[in-house]
Symmetry: C2
Amino acid sequence: MKGGNYTSLGTYSGISGSGSGNMSGTSKMSLGKSIKMYLTIFILTTCIYMALYQYHISREPFPASEVVKPPLYIITPTYRRPEQLAELTRLGYTLKHVVNLLWLVIEDANKTNPLVGHTLDRIGVPYEYMVAPMPEKYKQTKKAKPRGVSNRNRGLEYLRQHATEGVLYFADDDNTYDISIFEQMRYISKVAMWPVGLVTKTGVSSPIIQEGKLVGYYDGWIGGRKYPVDMAGFAVSVKFLKERPNAQMPFKPGYEEDGFLRSLAPLADAEIELLADDCRDILTWHTQTKKNAPGQPLNRTRYKNTNLEHIDRLLVRP
Amino acid sequence: MKGGNYTSLGTYSGISGSGSGNMSGTSKMSLGKSIKMYLTIFILTTCIYMALYQYHISREPFPASEVVKPPLYIITPTYRRPEQLAELTRLGYTLKHVVNLLWLVIEDANKTNPLVGHTLDRIGVPYEYMVAPMPEKYKQTKKAKPRGVSNRNRGLEYLRQHATEGVLYFADDDNTYDISIFEQMRYISKVAMWPVGLVTKTGVSSPIIQEGKLVGYYDGWIGGRKYPVDMAGFAVSVKFLKERPNAQMPFKPGYEEDGFLRSLAPLADAEIELLADDCRDILTWHTQTKKNAPGQPLNRTRYKNTNLEHIDRLLVRP
């Protein structure tokens, strides 16, 4: 029991108190000695309690809020679909393990969805929820659409307006992240890269490192790209971004990462920092979630006055 | 600053100490008074430090380990595939938010995989990693295989041997869970049920509740089942399980949940506890992850002495 020390000291002071009864009737000399004795006991006891007090203060954990780490800005594009709330919930619980992080959740929509807001509130990660619809001209195309580009550029705009330091990272809501990558990217000064698992036929997309130097890229699809990397495989310092006022992501399916990284020029290969144990470890995965058909409409006559009326309102239908 | 109180008290004792210089040469009577004064100061100071000490002890956060909640046993079947480490990582970070939980990760394999063990270590959730291969006769069939049944029955066997209280839950590694469901299931006494999102064409699988009572099940596929529920939609108390020594999961694709719940008889519908706000909220989702082809073999001549040799060892190939 922690109270043990304190109790025995209390008893000790009691003993010295009862000793004072023997003092009356003794000489001036011995009274002077008694005073010295009391003073000694007094100072000793005070010192012991001071030491105990200091010890307990020193053992209190250092408050996490006082450890100021550079902030992380996680830009997550999202869009309305049956899996949306599940994906955000799952990613949110990973981000919830990371301190000093702001989650920028940006939906390809004309207005926010209260179900998404409610889900983000429930997860409990600090967030900003914004919308950034895809421009109409790209919606019409029969070819691959530039998904998530409006959203990510909206995130960059937010950072130019509100951020001064720290690091930005594009984290799609269906991917998987080992939390240690967040602590590693926090301290970069320009651009950092690392491997991403489950990308194309090679099973991984990674910078190639030989003798500590970046010598190329390993990916099942190179496609004439200068930076054949996955969206989950790089992070950029906010200061570095702000020194390149025109940097943004192009509306060019398959070339979003490459276009954005090129727009950060000048950037020498030697300036690219290599994380995840010099790109020898896999800490991010490009997981994809199977699409579900929208839930069929509820028979409101048959299920009147049941819990299903409540549940029906929680289903996200595109 | 927290040291403030302590410093000012130190100063106070210094003042009373310097006062002792005036004592020499005074009468016995006034020396007696001085002793009383010293005693008073001594006791007062001691009391103040005792109070400060107690105050600081009382302010220390109550250690989490002393809050004894009923344990949760999370049974997660898994099998070798490219997504395996990603799925376990992602689920692990959700479970990491839940206290007093033991994660039983059981692989359909003849021996454990060091990569899986390493991943579980890295996540940091208390776990047991075991194997339980599917019996040969089911592997041969051309029809749907009873996946995860050996694993889950191995988990039940572990609980019969090692657990005495708490709750068990079957949590597949690709699903999504809101952590509040774990706190709700922790206190059930027999069997609890709740809705699961993204199941079949209805978009949700749920018990139907009318006037607070379970009156049926809502699911796109009923299939003659007594309990047409998803694996993610129920939990069972360990005590209740142990009172039914023959309860287990059948090797019958599509009827695993139903067969297991039937094997828990006798179980009256009125005994089934309803969680997630009386089944009006969705706190679990049957998400599925897109399968990836195994990563193609690395060209070991071309990529000799690069980081890719290390990465190649981290890829899970079936």
